[in-house]
Symmetry: C2
Subunit: 360 residues, 2 copies
Amino acid sequence: MANNEYEQRRQAVAEGLAGRKLDALLVSFSPNLRYLSGFTGSSGALLILPGKSILLTDPRYQIQAPQESTCQVRIVKGPLVIGLLAAVKKLGVKRIGYEPARMTCDFFDAVKSQLSLRASLEPVHGWIEELRMVKSADELELIRRSVDTNSRAFEQTIARIKPGIKEQDLAAELEYRMRRLGAEKPAFETIVATGVRSALPHAQPTGARLTAGDLVVVDMGAFQGGYASDMTRMLSVGPPNAKVKRMYRAVLEAQLAAIDAVRAGAKTARIDSAARKVLKGHGLDKVFIHSTGHGLGLEIHEPPRLGKHDKARLRAGMAITIEPGAYVEGFGGVRIEDTVIVTEKGCEILTPTSKDLYIV
Amino acid sequence: MANNEYEQRRQAVAEGLAGRKLDALLVSFSPNLRYLSGFTGSSGALLILPGKSILLTDPRYQIQAPQESTCQVRIVKGPLVIGLLAAVKKLGVKRIGYEPARMTCDFFDAVKSQLSLRASLEPVHGWIEELRMVKSADELELIRRSVDTNSRAFEQTIARIKPGIKEQDLAAELEYRMRRLGAEKPAFETIVATGVRSALPHAQPTGARLTAGDLVVVDMGAFQGGYASDMTRMLSVGPPNAKVKRMYRAVLEAQLAAIDAVRAGAKTARIDSAARKVLKGHGLDKVFIHSTGHGLGLEIHEPPRLGKHDKARLRAGMAITIEPGAYVEGFGGVRIEDTVIVTEKGCEILTPTSKDLYIV
């Protein structure tokens, strides 16, 4: 990302302060901090004022922080909150916005208890997350690359595996490929769940082996250049039986219907209901136990959420997943997931991987 | 971990409630939740009362949660906080302990604003973290396995690499080996930093290649069975020069001095000063810019911290890292790190890997 993109974002925040009756915004949640400063360290706090931004972090990052960010950097020995209070005092800011969804009660209390009487902390809900929802051209390019790496890792690995491989080892191969193709790390713990375990939407890979007759869910994502990708594909160990085929077709139909409903201006709940309606037609709506998708970017899960009760409207430039599923305890589960970018007329499906049921 | 170990932990908490004037303890921070319930899902809340524990989570975990935990499981559709409030109301609990260091302001406000007037939230500081500091025999066994996997991954990989490999690719190889040896995932982003980048204590691996004359820091850890390991070793690409050798010897001497100071009853700051004193003798104390170590377990960083100002005393059964370092901007850095278990008389060094400077 170019430095001036971070500067423009901070500028936008600085310009929004007055309208929110704030003198400054305090950001300490890593993805928001990175979005606004470029700093990738694990601990820091950013104070944005009109015409000035101060990044506070600890001595471990004294070389890295000025390399990554054009903010004014202050290295704080000891608790960050002490350095923060000193900065606030020196700058004379009074109304300081903070992110209650992202700050612990302890941090809040530590700041609050030591602020001068004339200064106050004012809650700010989802401002930066709102900015983050619609991606810039540079961000979309990073997501595209991340999706591409993720898909190539899947395709290269699946072409080489044989029945009998352990869930854990398949997950290890997928993550290794991802990294060799340029990812920093998996975006979440890669899910490889075989047989009846495929009915667990968030299964962790075990020592179980892929065995003839198994249905296998593979849900994987990469972080590359800081941005997430997310994809789910299904494997069948040997030819699938009729029940598996029916379930697969139903979920695929639901996924395509949801993708078809995506366009700028559409209500998020509308995308979810498009998938749910199809699954209902197949008697599978009761076993579709999560929402149809979520935004992704600097986090693997970020707004908007595409659930039954979500009222936000899609906007062009949002990056979202479309991932309906059906989970039958004691039998197995099917989920199919792509990463797509919302456009004015519909969407661009980034995930290039075939949606066939892969036979291994 | 045996189910009864979780039950014993909850029992200990339940018995401690009265002394803290609490009717229940609310735990939602993942490592604490796992420690007390066995549940490994990414989202949940645990309410511990005398004689009863309720685990609330969402429908994604409706199969997994009862498999992992003997707590009474309630599946909550929609916001967890709503289910939590319903449970609190039904149980008639009044004084509810919460973890302010682990709870967001938003979650706190959501609970607080809907509690009945007779009920209150009471801050509980570090209770579960305190319990977690001293490990059980089963936990130590898991840490031992994690350390062993981590070291074997390092040794197998280092034996096979050649100069010219990229930092990223070396990190990918290390993590792949880790996983193939049974780890669930790296305990943190593996650090491989070559040349002047070795002076960044928390460097992320890049496309830079290991080049003749480079000093390389490799800091890696695994999560296996939920428990962390942590190790740092140094490589030299080709024979090290005299300055590198001097710096390496100084840090090694500091690390051995710190290990020598470890025993039950010793102040944590005392371990740090043992390392710092040695580095001072070599004129390197000003460039030792972090603390000497930290506890590890279900988290990669957990109490106790072994820094200059830390006053806690070590206890037998704690698992800690010992990792002094020296970082010279524009030249490079050296860090050497082991995972050790505190014993009555000293410590057991778990990390089996040689502390020689590895020549590649």
